[in-house]
Amino acid sequence: MITVTINGKPQDLDVDPEMPILWVLRDVLGLTGTKFGCGEALCGACTVHLDGDVIRSCVTPIRHADGKKLTTIEGLSEAGDHPLQKAWVELGVPQCGYCQSGQIMSAAALLVKKPKPTDQEIDQSLAGNLCRCGTYIRIRAAVKKAAGV
C-alpha cells in the first residue's frame, strides 16, 4: 500500500509500485488533467509537483511519492483562479490546450522560487515543456503578467 496526499487529500493506493505517477493519476484516480505526451520526460505534458518540486510524472514510479504530497493541475487552485490560470485566460494562451496543464505546473513552481522571473529564467524553467501549437510567446507574457513584471 502506498500512501500519497494528492491535492490535499491523503489516499491509500493499492497499485503496482512501479506504475508511473501519470498512469496512477489518469487511469486509477481519473485525474485526467495531467497529460501524456511522450512518456520519456521529453515534453513536460505530464508535469506535476511532488512536495513542491516539478517532476515528470510519466517516468516517476508511484513508489517515489509514498508519504509525500502530489499536486496536479486539478489541485493547483480550487476554483481555477491561480494567478497563472487567470493570466492564461486573460491572454488567451491556449491553442489546442493539451500542453497547458504541464506549462502551468512548471510555471507555478518557478514563481514559488522566483516570484519575479526574467525572460531567461522563464525560458530555462519551461525549456522542458513543449507546445506543438506554438504558444510560447503568450506563455512568456502570461507568466510575467501573473508575476506582475
Binding site: 501524456f36 512518456g39 488567451g92 491553442q95 490546450g97 493539451y98 513543449l130 501549437c133 510567446i137 512568456r140
Partner: protein, 755 residues
C-alpha cells in the same frame, strides 16, 4: 429528446450546403432527469426544460431563454468554437452570456464537418449566418403575429424581440414558443444583418475554452471514461504493409493487468484509412498495456517496402527533377529563352518527410454494443471516422455515433481515422469499451507523412538582369498514393499549392512534375505542399537577387510582378483549382501579395536594418486564399542561428476573430521555426528512424523570438484561410536570413543538418 413535430422543410439543402439533407423542425424536450455523459458532465441536450424550440441542428432556444449553439467543426487549437458560434449568436441577436456551446457529433445534418484546408470560416461563415438569420426571422414573425405588428418593425437584440414603436419587448425564451408555430421562411427571403450591426465580430473575441484548458478540465481523446473500459496498445509492423509472421502472446499475458493479446487484421493496398495491423495488447490500464507490448515477441515479414531508404530516395527524387517531367504549367518558350539568356541561375532544393506530432498522440475510445458502436475521438473528420468504423464493423453508418472531443493538436494527422477504426475493432474483439492509446513512438513511426520532395529551378536573365525564363521541376510522392495503387505523379490539387498557382511575371516559364513512387503513407500536414514550394521558390528568388546584386525585396516584387488579377490562362494552366473556391470570389490578386510584402518590410525597417548590419530574410506566399509575408531576423549564436525578431503580415480578407487569427500566426511562426531548424523523418530498411522528441525535434521556448510583430491587413474581401497560410513563408525567410548572416546558402531542410 422526443421529436413530436418532424421536419417541415429541408432548409439547408436549399442553401446548397454540401447537398446534405438538413432538418429544421420543432422539438420538445421531455421532462426527466438530466442524462449524465460518461465523463460525469450533464449533457445540455437532455435538460429538464419543458419546451425547447430547436432550429435544428445548430440552434436550440429553451423556454427559459437558454440558447445552445452547436459547434460542428473540430476544435484543434484554431479557436473555431470561439468564433463561428459567436457569429451565429450575433446574427441571431443573442446575448453570449446566455449561450452555451454544444460540440456536434459527426452527422450530415451539419453539412460538411471536415475540419481541414483552413475552411472553417471561409467556407461556412455565410451559411451559418443564414441559419441564424432564419431563426431570428422566425422569432420575429411569431412575436409580430401575436402583437399584430409588421415584422419589419421588430428587431432582435439583447436576447429579446423588441418593438421600438410600442416599446414592447419579449424574451427569446417566450418568443421561441411562438416561433415554433411559424413557417420556415423561404431561403431567398432570408436577410442577413448589415455587418455594421454585428457587435462582436471583426475584432478580438474572448477565448471561450481558455479556462477549461488552463484548469485541466477540457476533455481530449484519452480523457473519456466508461465503466469497464480497457486500454489497448498496439505493436504495428515497422514497415508499411509488413505483416506479422509469428508471435508469442505468453510473455505479455503473464503481465499483471493484461487481459488479451490479439492480432489485428492486415491492411490491403492502398492504405487509405485502414489500421496498419500488428498485435494488440488489451489491459486494465495503460501502463499494463504498454508493459505487455514490450514483452511481446513478434517476428515480422517486412514486405516490399523494406527497401525504402531516405538517403537513396533523395537521389531518386533528384534524378527525377534532372530529367524531363510531365508539363503542368507553361507560358511562352522557356527553352528558347534559356538558350538566349545572358545569365543562368540554377539550384536544387530538398525537403524531408515530416511527422505531425500533435502534442496529444492519437487516442480513441470505442464502445461496440453488438448492433451499434459509439466512439469518442479527437477527429478532424467525424463523418469519415463514422463511415470507416461502420465499414470495418459491418454496421450501417446510422448505427455508429462519433462524438468529437477536443483535439490536442491535429495538423492533419487526426483527419485520418486509422486509430479510430483500431479502437472500434478492438472493442468488438474485447467485448468491452476499449481506448486505443498511441505512444509518441507510435505517432512518430506510424504517421501519414508530409511528402519529401526535390525542386529544381533554372532561370535565365537578359543583359539588364531581367528574368526572362523560369523552368521549375518538382518530384514528390503524392498524397493520392495513400488512396490508390500505382500513383506515380502528383495530382492537380497538390500542384496548385505553389507550383501551378504562384504568380510569376516572367514571360517564359514551364513547370514539370517528375515521377516519385511512395513507400510510406503520405498525408497532408498543415499547409501541405506549400511548405515545400514556398521554401524552394522563396530561396531561389533570394538567389536570383544575389546573382543580380539586387535587394531581395525588389527581386521578389519583380517576380510577383505588377498589381493584377491572374486568370488560369495567365497562370499557364487549363484550370486553377484555387482551393475549391471560385476565382471571381477569391482571385489570385498580386496587389494583395505585393501589399503584404511591402508592409512587412516597412514594419521590419528592411532597408535601414539591413544597412545597419542586421541579418534579415524575407519570403511571401499565397495559400488557402490568403496572402502572407514574413521577415525573420537572426543572430548567430555559436554557429547556430537564433531568431531574435520576426514580422508577419497576413491578408486573410475579413477576419472574424482577430485574437485567434493572431494566435494562428504566432503558432505558424513557431511551427515553422521548428520544421526549418530540426524537422526530419527519415527511413531505413522501410522503417522510420526517429521515435520521440529527442530525435524528432520541435521548437522549444528558448528558440522563439522575443519580439514577434503580427499585422492583419484590414480588408473587406471574403475571408480566406487562417490556420495554414502563415506557415509556408517561415522556413524560406529563415533560410534567407541565415544566408544574410553567413553567406551560406542552405538548400535542404532541416537547416541544422547543414550548420
Amino acid at each position: 429528446m422526443a421529436r413530436i413535430s418532424l421536419v417541415r422543410r429541408s432548409f439547408l439543402q436549399a442553401l446548397g450546403l454540401g447537398g446534405a439533407a438538413f432538418a429544421l423542425g420543432i422539438e420538445h424536450a421531455e421532462a426527466g432527469p438530466p442524462k449524465a455523459k460518461p465523463n460525469g458532465k450533464v449533457d445540455p441536450d437532455a435538460s429538464t426544460l419543458a419546451a425547447v424550440w430547436v432550429h435544428h441542428p445548430f440552434i436550440a432556444i429553451a423556454a427559459n431563454g437558454a440558447v445552445t449553439i452547436a459547434s460542428h467543426r473540430a476544435e484543434m487549437g484554431q479557436g473555431v468554437r470561439s468564433t463561428l458560434p459567436v457569429l451565429m449568436a450575433d446574427e441571431l441577436g443573442a446575448d453570449m452570456k446566455q449561450v452555451s456551446l454544444r460540440q456536434a457529433d459527426g452527422d450530415e445534418a451539419y453539412g460538411d464537418q471536415s475540419t481541414d484546408g483552413s475552411t472553417s470560416v471561409r467556407s461556412h461563415y455565410e451559411d451559418l449566418r443564414k441559419i441564424a438569420a432564419t431563426a431570428r426571422m422566425m422569432l420575429i414573425a411569431g412575436v409580430a403575429k401575436k402583437w399584430k405588428v409588421e415584422p419589419s418593425t421588430c428587431v432582435a437584440t439583447h436576447h429579446a424581440i423588441n418593438h421600438p414603436p410600442s416599446k414592447r419587448s419579449m424574451s427569446f425564451g417566450e418568443a421561441s414558443l411562438l416561433a415554433a408555430t411559424m413557417p420556415v421562411p423561404d431561403v431567398k427571403t432570408v436577410e442577413l444583418r448589415p455587418e455594421s450591426e454585428l457587435t462582436s465580430l471583426f475584432r478580438d473575441l474572448p477565448h471561450l475554452d481558455a479556462f477549461d484548458m488552463s484548469t485541466g478540465r477540457a476533455q481530449y481523446g484519452a480523457d473519456i471514461r466508461l465503466p469497464g473500459m480497457l486500454v489497448a496498445v498496439i505493436a504495428r509492423p515497422p514497415v508499411v504493409f509488413g505483416k506479422v509472421k509469428s508471435f508469442d502472446p505468453a510473455p505479455a499475458l503473464a503481465i499483471k493487468g493484461v487481459r488479451k493479446v490479439v492480432e489485428m487484421p492486415a491492411p490491403k493496398p492502398p492504405c487509405h484509412f485502414q489500421p496498419l495491423g500488428g498485435v494488440a495488447v488489451i489491459a486494465e490500464n495503460t501502463w499494463s498495456a504498454m508493459r505487455g507490448r514490450r514483452a511481446l515477441e513478434i517476428k515480422w515479414d517486412d514486405g516490399d517496402n523494406r527497401t525504402y531508404d531516405s538517403i537513396a530516395y533523395r537521389e531518386t527524387l533528384l534524378a527525377s527533377v534532372r530529367a524531363k517531367g510531365e508539363v503542368v504549367r507553361k507560358l511562352g518558350d522557356v527553352d528558347a529563352a534559356l538558350a538566349a539568356a545572358k545569365k543562368k541561375v540554377e539550384a536544387e532544393y530538398v525537403l524531408p518527410h515530416l511527422a505531425h506530432a500533435p502534442m496529444e498522440p492519437p487516442a480513441c475510445l470505442a464502445h461496440f454494443k453488438g448492433d451499434s458502436c459509439e466512439v469518442w475521438a479527437p477527429t478532424q473528420e467525424p463523418q469519415d471516422a463514422r463511415d470507416e468504423v461502420a465499414k470495418a464493423l459491418g454496421l450501417d453508418k446510422k448505427k455508429v455515433t462519433v462524438h468529437m472531443t477536443f483535439l490536442g493538436g491535429a495538423f492533419g494527422r487526426k483527419a485520418k481515422p486509422d486509430f479510430i477504426v483500431e479502437a472500434a475493432l478492438l472493442s468488438k474483439m474485447a467485448g468491452a469499451p476499449v481506448r486505443v492509446q498511441w505512444t509518441r513512438e507510435d505517432d512518430i513511426r506510424h504517421g501519414y507523412y508530409h511528402s519529401t520532395c526535390a525542386h529544381r529551378f533554372s532561370a535565365g536573365m537578359d543583359a539588364t538582369g531581367k528574368v526572362t525564363a523560369w523552368l521549375h521541376r518538382c518530384a514528390f510522392p503524392s498524397i493520392s498514393s495513400t488512396f490508390a495503387n500505382g500513383v506515380t505523379h502528383a495530382g492537380a490539387g497538390e500542384l496548385q499549392q505553389g507550383t501551378t498557382d504562384f504568380p510569376l511575371a516572367v514571360p517564359n516559364f514551364r513547370m514539370e512534375n517528375g515521377e516519385a513512387k511512395a513507400h510510406v503513407r503520405i498525408g497532408w500536414l498543415r499547409s501541405v505542399h506549400n511548405i515545400n514550394y514556398a521554401f524552394a521558390a522563396g530561396s531561389f528568388i533570394d538567389e536570383l537577387a544575389v546573382a543580380r546584386a539586387a535587394d531581395p525585396r525588389d527581386m521578389l516584387l519583380e517576380i510577383v510582378g505588377p498589381a493584377r488579377v491572374l486568370s488560369a490562362a495567365d497562370l499557364g494552366v487549363a484550370k486553377a483549382s484555387n482551393y475549391g473556391a471560385p476565382l471571381d470570389k477569391h482571385p489570385i490578386d498580386t496587389a494583395r501579395l505585393r501589399r503584404v510584402i511591402e508592409r512587412v518590410t516597412e514594419l521590419a525597417d528592411w532597408t535601414s536594418a539591413r544597412k545597419s548590419g542586421r541579418f534579415l530574410g524575407l519570403a511571401a506566399h499565397r495559400s488557402f486564399l490568403s496572402y502572407v509575408a514574413v521577415v525573420m531576423s537572426v543572430v548567430m549564436d555559436g554557429g547556430k542561428p537564433r531568431v531574435d525578431e520576426a514580422w508577419i503580415v497576413a491578408d486573410a480578407g475579413k477576419v472574424l476573430n482577430h485574437d485567434r487569427a493572431r494566435a494562428q500566426m504566432e503558432g505558424a511562426i513557431i511551427f515553422g521555426i521548428g520544421l526549418a531548424m530540426h524537422g526530419a523523418i527519415t527511413m531505413k530498411n522501410g522503417a522510420v528512424e526517429q521515435g520521440n522528441f529527442r530525435d524528432y525535434r520541435i521548437a522549444r521556448i528558448g528558440e522563439v523570438p522575443s519580439k514577434l510583430h503580427i499585422e492583419l491587413v484590414k480588408s473587406d474581401r471574403p475571408p480566406g484561410g487562417i490556420g495554414e497560410p502563415g506557415l509556408p513563408p517561415v522556413a524560406p525567410a529563415l533560410a534567407n536570413a541565415v544566408f544574410a548572416a553567413t553567406g551560406k546558402r542552405i538548400r535542404e531542410l532541416p537547416l541544422m543538418k547543414s550548420l
